[in-house]
Amino acid sequence: MAESPSSPIKSSIAAALRETVSPPPPPAASPAAPSAAPAGSAPSSAPPQSELCTIKLDGREVQAKKGANLLEVCLAHGVDVSYFCYHPGLSSPAVCRQCLVEVVGQPKLVPACFTPIADKMEVNTATPRVLTIRRQMLEFTLVNHPVDCPICDKAGECTLQKQYQDWDHVGSRSSIPKVHKPKMQDLGPHIVLDSERCILCTRCIRVCDEVAGQKQLTMAWRGDREQLTVAPGHQLDNPYSLNTVDVCPVGALTSKDFRFTMRAWELFTTSSVCPGCATGCNVEVHHAQGEIWRLVPRENLQVNKYWMCDEGRFAYKDVRHKRLTSARIGAGRGQPAQITSVDKAVAFAAERLERLVSSGGTIGLVYSAQTTNEALFALSQVAAKLTARGASVRAYVSGAAPRPERADNILRSADVNPNTAGAKLLAGVGAGDAKALLADLTAGKLKGLWMVGTDLPLGEQAEFEIAPLADGLELLICQAVHDSPLLRRAHVQLPAAAWAEVDGTFTNAKHMVQRLRKAVAPQGDARAHLELVTQIAKKANLAQNEKWQVSARQAFLQMVAEVASTLPPGADPAQSVAAGFAAADWGKEFLPVQLRFANSRG
């Protein structure tokens, strides 16, 4: 570690925050490149030589695509040019004037974010002239900025703070009173605006215009009285409104949900995937003190770019609330069940399962699309063992009901299950759906039912009504994250860990197998679905110490190997889910990083 330990360490953190598990479907040429490329860099596949041009960047010859954005070229080559209004996912209006650089031959400084590069261009980003102007722009921005850091939600992940400390860091020269603007304006269901803090970069306006496609925000007034506002009678209520909080370089836009709950720099970040729908937006889970405080999008250009929907951000609440935290066993048929330890419940389940197998009778296995691939793979292994023992086994894929009204062509999908593709593949070709399950229950075709995830495409009321159907079963084993009417009818009720409490993978609608990482400890006695399946299989003498029973990673490796073995070589992940599995990679393990040291925000 003699010369510079910085780059490997920092880049490993950055990679942890950006990394995708599965390589992107379309190019698939260089699987390593996309995760390592910094924000806004040129595409990884090298363009033909004719499209390249050479510029001189701070005296260094640099090659880039002709016409590329100068600011992006600078960032890709490690040249730090401060900026506020530029965002890699949005258009560049060059309003903040913070990225002014010197182009030799041009009389005035030019905004890098608005300048396409041309051959033989000579750019200087660190001459005294540029540095002075950069400092003056910051001084100008700070003239009317309130002394709010101690009470500001953005403090610690604030771009203005960062740019000041990096480029200005001299004291105030101003003695005139600051211009005051309205504070605490309610903009919509999720957002509060503090106009005094706003530095007028218009990123939020562009997020609404370009990402959500709804023109809800605009600037009003002029000069030092200019402020952000919504049109009269409207509010900021598009389904992507909370992205404005993320892109806000200061604390002007704050989330009502997160406001004043936690200081940003104290949070730890773990990369994961949103469990809200089949899109599988990559997220950072921000947690501290064993609780999740918010979800923010994590850059993945193949899936969600830099964004996620408002609903998805609240997915963490399910991890906190209405949890099943202890195991219960009982006589079924809605009779009160007794709380017991998970081990006892597992032993009870195993014993009853063995009895059922020896007595003969069809056993239903429910693969919930809300559950990780690894747990479902384990269940499919159990299914094979049961069949080998002579039991008749039926597989069903279940999950929450689709919500067509939320589908748009941006990120939100009608399928609100994160792992439908994976569940369908792992349950096998002959698997029925939830309708088939209800039909079989009604017809009394099943003697036993083992549900890995109790999610059904029914509302709570409907579920309450169908719950008595379970009374015909000799054995109902439910592994569930949340309490539900059907669960109450089960003979064995096992508490399962939620998505943020386990390691595993989800397969999204684009067949990309994406990695979940354990952010917080499971609540109460809850254990991962995979662990519960493993232990029941062990106790029931179905499988002892097989690879998938060792750890989530081992289960993943076995699953990928088995799925890949069924495929012809060179299968396209875009065409089949199995090919997506075959291309999947578990990724590295990372310790959660505290945001103040992660260098990822602000």
Partner: protein
């Protein structure tokens, strides 16, 4: 009361129940007759040396393993020594450190550079300011601002550092004297130490865990009358110090446990990585302040005392003399200290003034970033070493460019010297362990970092 008291009932026993002379004369001392009688030939021997000549009484012994510590009342430091003894003689020993382990190095990886200072206070906790200074110098070396530190801050660091060295040595000498039975020197030396700590408390706000030094200087200027009070305190401490010296240097009991006990040769000491007073006791005049001057130590005149035998007494004498030399340095520093700022004027390293923090956004941000993100230290690695209370105190820091150390290792002199403990007490008597251990001066906090 040596006489019997007269009363109406005749002569009485002495107040504390001793038999009266009459009773003794009558031979009626209760219990005496019941004692077993020793062989007459042994009773005839008058003193111990004659007793040893009697071959018959050599008792058969076999090696025995016993624990000394980890919570032994006579070791100042939590350490476990597993002894194999043959009678009174130490045949083997296993010195086990780690009972005060508080993960300094790991904690430092999770704290900003400024937050590490309170941890350094707890390394060698009888001279916290020397550790403060050592760590600050390491970070400054990595930042490349060593030469820019204001001169007044450098003098203040020397002053508080030398005061700490005095308190360190006083604790070591006083406690060691107490452990071999001399309680008075302990009380007097601790009294002097307390005067000095009161002075430091007035300056830093804390009696023991000062956290006074900052990267770029010190946290605040000397109090108005600090110099005058320090001078007075030093003058006042000369007399009790001299008395302590008299009480110990010519004390037969003390000298018996010091002279020729725990002897180390200069070659072995160097081979074992000894530094500080312990190394100097063997005759090697290595002192970081002289050999690799840092801060403003090259401007002071002071001697490096060395011993000749390398035994406990030499270690004692070297420390005693170093107290005087530190006083010499203090005297010169008090004369030379210039006026001026005590903290570097660099907003990316040092905190802006509080008034500006509360009233301007610029300084508020500066304050905020320094607190939350820490001082951004350029990537690289550094080893910086100073003369601590027990020897060369080195900090090895690897920076990854973030606000906290990627790795922080401390070369703590105690840890390295303690490895020789087994060698020093091999063949010594059990009673020699305590003074030898005392003169090694293992400080648990520093040893078990």
């Amino acid at each position: 009361m040596s006489t019997t008291t007269q009363s109406k009932t005749g002569p009485r026993k002495l107040a504390f129940g001793m038999p009266t002379p009459d009773e003794i004369a009558a031979g009626g001392i209760p219990g005496l007759s019941a004692r077993p009688k020793l062989p007459v030939d042994l009773m005839d021997k008058l003193n111990a040396s004659e007793l040893e000549e009697v071959e018959d009484i050599e008792l058969p012994t076999e090696p025995m393993q016993i624990n000394m510590g980890p919570s032994h009342p006579a070791t100042h430091g939590t350490v476990r020594i597993v002894l194999t003894i043959d009678g009174e003689t130490v045949r083997d020993s296993d010195v086990q450190v780690g009972y005060l382990h508080r993960c300094f190095e790991k904690e430092a990886e999770y704290a900003t550079y400024t937050q590490v200072f309170p941890y350094t206070d707890r390394l060698n906790y009888v001279s916290p300011l020397l550790n403060n200074v050592g760590f600050a110098l390491a970070v400054e070396k990595l930042l490349g601002i060593g030469a820019a530190i204001p001169e007044r801050a450098q003098y203040i660091r020397v002053i508080v550092g030398e005061i700490s060295r005095i308190t360190d040595h006083l604790t070591c000498l006083g406690a060691s004297a107490m452990e071999v039975g001399g309680f008075t020197p302990f009380l007097w030396m601790i009294k002097i130490r307390e005067w000095l700590w009161e002075l430091l408390e007035e300056l830093t706000g804390a009696r023991l865990t000062h956290s006074y030094v900052r990267v770029g200087g010190v946290s605040q200027d000397l109090t108005e009358d600090f110099i005058a009070r320090l001078r007075a305190t030093l003058n006042r401490s000369l007399e009790p110090l001299a008395e302590c010296e008299k009480l110990l240097v010519k004390n037969r009991i003390f000298r018996d446990r010091m002279d020729g006990v725990g002897t180390m040769s200069a070659e072995d000491a160097i081979a074992m990585g000894w530094t500080g007073p312990c190394l100097r006791s063997t005759g090697v005049p290595y002192d970081v302040r002289k050999d690799h001057p840092y801060l403003v130590y090259d401007r002071f005149e002071f001697d490096v005392p060395v011993g000749s035998v390398g035994d406990n007494y030499d270690r004692f004498a070297v420390r005693l003399e170093e107290i005087r030399q530190s006083m010499r340095i203090l005297e010169q520093a008090m004369q030379q200290i210039p006026p001026g700022p005590v903290l570097l004027d660099e907003p990316r390293i040092c905190m802006p003034p509080k008034n500006a923090v509360y009233n301007t956004i610029e300084s508020m941000i500066g304050h905020f970033k320094l607190i939350v993100d820490g001082i951004k230290v350029p990537p690289g690695e550094v080893y910086s070493y100073t003369e601590g209370g027990n020897g060369e105190l080195g900090f090895y820091i690897v920076s990854d460019g973030s606000g906290r150390p990627y790795r922080c290792h401390v070369r703590s002199p105690s840890f390295i010297i303690t490895q020789s403990m087994s060698k020093l007490i091999l063949g010594a008597g059990i009673a020699d362990i305590i003074p030898t251990f005392g003169m090694i001066n293992m400080i648990g906090g520093e040893c078990d970092r």
